[in-house]
Symmetry: C2
């Protein structure tokens, strides 16, 4: 197995990405290999600084001179920066030279590169990012969180089908995945026109264990294994969870330090533990479901632990038959679905 | 001043509504009056149970036989239940018999009744619900949170104009309100088609102190006084904040009780205080901005404290000149805007 990593992608690149890659080797078999893509002199310097022994021969390098910044326009930057690490990584995957890719850089550019260069799974119209988030009832999957900000109902229908399979695999569910749709109330009449259309499609599809709407308040209560939403709403929700949990924990730590300094020592580890329960980087990146390959999109703020975990996710997904199962599920009669 | 309250609306009606109304009298002047609308025998029973002295003569009753349930379709239920407390309340306001109304029942029905029966402010196309939420930088206003789930760009433009005035009044800002737009990144290229259109309109309007996009992670950081979004996204966000804050606080209390029972006593009041900081019922209901009247929409879970606070908000808004200022602001040259 060969897994490509964009060494230049993310707020802490290349230091943390390279360090995370080295740590990630522990998740791989002896014959597996990582491919670091980026400005070679920088990557080599980080490898040396991290004390990696080159004779181990399990990390190879691919030089890419351009770097796409976090704020750049996805498609424009890919067109202008043909020698970027993101573009080169997607090309390696498209040519079958790597089995999986991992990117923590500009999410839009990463998704666009995968969509442009790697073919979709048979029958899939648009890929979606499926992220694992910690709910109060255990881990669950939210999709889409930003690949597709203006989805059509049939795109969201396909997210539900793909995520059902992904959830059953990743969460090792003993039952068929409970799929919900994010809306603004529990009753059928609630929602916007898109959501109401998707609800009708999900209800009518016997392959989906559709459990109805969840709203913001019950999203994290654990009543569903998969929650489907449009990529704009999903991205807002994902980042809000992070911002609010982080802010509340910090505020509480400050309150305790100010009013009960004697408690702070016993209390801080509890807060840290709580925070880890709600830190989705624990789950190491989110797959772009629907492309014919394994593309793992990581948070821009990924540190070495997140990258290490992403290597584990990429490896596990590559060894699985998720994509084959998605194709079977999407094409039950072997016929092609209409193209988008 | 006369303020109408739907005594049958909300999860804890009529008990908590009636009790909150009685407590709310403390916020009113001696000549001010509350009008409770609902099934008269139930309202009278609750008034008696709460020990209200009828000779005080500051609460009057209007009988309404029908009740619209929380899950009913807003427009259909209003059509079928012509004698509902929500419909009657909006009619009282439309006829000028009350100066303000407060509803904690079916939000959609409450908004629809106000839209159908009360005329819009001159120049306003669609009303929006503007809720105060506690951010880590102090209170801020989020609009719309559910009145309009499929807004057009000019609706959101008007929310920005109206909320600027409301924020300056309510938060007593010493500067012109900083208005942001909720999106999925800080850069201009981010967002969905609607959000990018609204951004262009807000940027071009010199009356608005537009500070750009905020994303989910920075929404609560206090960098804006007003955040504009579509009513679907706003409703998801509002309820997610509530659900996540509530869940985290409960989880932490459980962790402390389990692992450090000796700390629980000192810790629980801290958590309670933290929770109150993030409990938006403290702010007592949200105005439906853009109608020619004062319509305060409360959370379905409103207890007596929330209703009491809503009376204070309704009274303060009735005494203010917010609606006049909105009309001046929306019609700078005295001309009518095109109708929706």
């Amino acid at each position: 197995m060969r897994i490509a990593i964009d060494a230049m992608g993310g707020d802490h690149a290349p230091e943390e990405i390279v360090a995370g890659a080295i740590e990630g080797l522990a998740h791989l078999g002896e014959d597996d290999e990582l491919v670091l893509i980026g400005q070679q002199e920088q990557v080599v310097r980080e490898l040396k600084r991290s004390g990696y022994d080159e004779s181990h021969d399990r990390i190879s390098l691919v030089d890419a001179r351009d770097v796409i910044g976090m704020g750049e326009h996805p498609v424009d930057s890919l067109r202008q920066k043909r020698d970027s690490s993101i573009a080169k990584m997607a090309e390696l995957a498209a040519r079958g030279e790597v089995d999986a890719l991992i990117g923590a850089g500009n999410t839009g550019a990463c998704v666009a590169a995968c969509q442009m260069k790697i073919r979709p799974l048979k029958g899939v119209h648009r890929p979606g990012i499926a992220v694992v988030i910690p709910s109060f009832g255990g881990p669950m999957i939210l999709c889409d969180v930003g690949a597709n900000v203006a989805p059509k109902p049939h795109h969201m229908h396909q997210y539900a089908l793909m995520c059902g399979i992904y959830a059953e695999h990743l969460l090792a569910l003993p039952h068929s995945a409970r799929v919900a749709l994010l809306s603004i109330g529990e009753e059928d009449a609630k929602g916007n026109p898109l959501v109401r259309q998707v609800r009708d499609v999900l209800k009518a599809d016997a392959r989906i264990n559709f459990v109805g709407y969840v709203e913001g308040r019950t999203l994290l209560s654990g009543q569903a294994d998969v929650v489907i939403c449009d990529g704009f709403v999903g991205n807002v929700v994902l980042k809000l969870i992070e911002g609010l949990a982080d802010g509340l924990v910090k505020l509480l730590a400050k309150d305790v330090a100010g009013s009960h300094p004697e408690l702070a020592k016993s209390f801080d580890p509890l807060l840290k533990e709580l925070w880890q329960k709600h830190d989705y980087s624990e789950y190491g990146g989110a797959p772009l479901l629907g492309v014919d390959g394994v593309c793992i999109v990581c948070h821009g703020s990924s540190d070495r632990r997140a990258i290490k975990n992403a290597v584990a996710v990429a490896s596990k997904m590559t060894s699985s038959n998720i994509n084959e199962r998605i194709v079977e599920f999407m094409n039950p009669d072997g016929a092609l679905s209409p193209s988008d």
